[in-house]
């Protein structure tokens, strides 16, 4: 029997023992832990659950290292491309001129500032690029991550690498990104261009984006979740 402790801020109906994050954070439980949370951002509750498990010496999914690295777009793309996931060239800068020098418009700009959450901008003109970079970089104090925008941007939910999109390549990308990042619940940002799929980024989910049918899917993965720690 697959037996781990699931720590979750979502109401799951899995057959495995489950604890709320607030209960787990006060407990000295020694077990394998699967941290199921909509948001693993640095210094948020989901992050502290993984940290607590690591300090106790538990095996935990995801690790604090993975929590930090998955949401930092350049790190995610670097790790993904080394893991064989198709990615797009990216540029880290605080200068619109630098972006224009490297890429043709349109471009997609991700903020790298600590104070922004789930934001990105697709920029089609030079004037909007200046405005977008200023906004997303907190007035050039932080950098942004810019990538060329090839075509369609697909956003899909991924639960333990299972993505319920009808495109096989998107499903395959979700599975491979999970193998690299180990983030149980997330939103993947993928670009599709001429039948090719490229990973763009990974973002936390808002709690209201997780539907009842999603909860059933997550519970099902956890109930037959053997191999999650392999």
């Amino acid at each position: 029997m697959f037996c781990v402790l699931v720590v979750s801020n979502i109401d799951l109906k899995a057959d495995t023992p489950t604890a709320k994050p607030s209960t787990f954070l006060k407990s000295p439980i020694r077990d394998d832990v699967i941290n199921v949370n909509n948001d693993y951002r640095y210094m948020k509750l989901g992050y502290y659950v993984s940290l607590h498990a690591e300090i106790l010496g538990d095996r935990v999914i995801p690790s604090t290292k993975d929590c930090i690295d998955a949401y930092r777009t350049p790190i995610l793309l670097l790790r993904a491309s080394r893991g064989g996931v198709p990615t797009i060239p990216y540029l880290i800068t605080d200068s619109p001129k630098h972006i224009l020098k490297e890429f043709e418009l349109p471009v997609i700009v991700f903020p790298l500032s600590p104070f922004t959450f789930n934001r990105l901008t697709v920029v089609k003109s030079k004037s909007t690029l200046y405005k977008a970079v200023r906004n997303l970089s907190s007035n050039h104090r932080y950098t942004v991550c810019a990538q060329p925008f090839y075509g369609e941007l697909i956003s899909c939910k991924s639960f333990f690498g299972r993505c319920y999109h009808n495109n096989r390549d998107v499903k395959d990308t979700a599975r491979r990104v999970y193998e690299i990042s180990k983030i149980p619940l997330c939103k993947l940002l993928i670009q599709r261009s001429k039948h090719r799929i490229y990973l763009c980024g990974l973002q936390p989910l808002n709690l209201d984006e997780i539907t009842l049918s999603d909860m059933v899917k997550i519970s099902r993965v956890l109930s037959c979740g053997e191999g999650l720690f392999d």
Partner: protein, 292 residues
Amino acid sequence: MTRIACFVEKYNFQHSREAEALHLFKLSAEQMGHRFDFIFKSDFSEIPSYDAVFIRATTDPLYTSYLVSKTAWELGLRVVDDPNSIRICANKIHQYELFGKHNIPHIPTLVISRDEIHRKQIQEVFDLFGRPVVLKAPYTSFSKYVEKVACETSFRHFAKRFSRRSDMLVVQKFVPTRFDWRVGVLNDEILYVCKYMMPNGGWKHGVKRKGKNSFRWGRTVALKKKNAPSKLKETALNACSVIGHGLYGVDIKEVDGEFIVVEVNDNPSIYRGYEDLWDRDIYEKIIRYLAA
């Protein structure tokens, strides 16, 4: 020859002593036959062309410095500060949990969740530690986001402010001392020892000027390493051993002859004439470590 990139931001050159120290790093590296370039955030794509990266800009997992460190690390470059040290040192909760686990003597500490900040909990904190207590955001650095609070109103005020970025906060017993020891450590070896004095009327090394954005800093008094208490050096090395083998600045309080760790900082300040006063070789030692 090792190609060393030193990641800095403009503010690293604002204080003349810090700027001088940075130029001493460059000078030492070049005298040792290495290349030493300052790189800024716009030079990110240049990282793969170097053999080692030395980070002097403020570190935090959410800043560009972490991206630099992690990218260099993933590419197999030698890095100071390495991503693991940044991850642990930038989050004081992580650090105190490790100190607790490994029995490193540290200031009595409580971690509280943002949701637990209510009258009963605050009263329990005051009952446990007395008044005032020190409230810390986990991401504190350079004396910022650390406040002394003695009543429920100010506790709530600062807790609300600090919890904008973190769901958990640190509460510590207030331990007043005239100075904090600062011990510089590199790769399990003591680099330098100083005293960070509290400015007049202050209880921490940096005190914010009223109505201004600037800080008033206490003096830095450097000591010869051999004259520093051996128990101090031992405590500093033990504290660093639970974090990693990089470059750290350990803050320690001396209370009744006992040494208790306040915190371990990655990316410690190195200013010419302060930390290096008795240990001019710190530049050479750090460069040698990067070039190894």
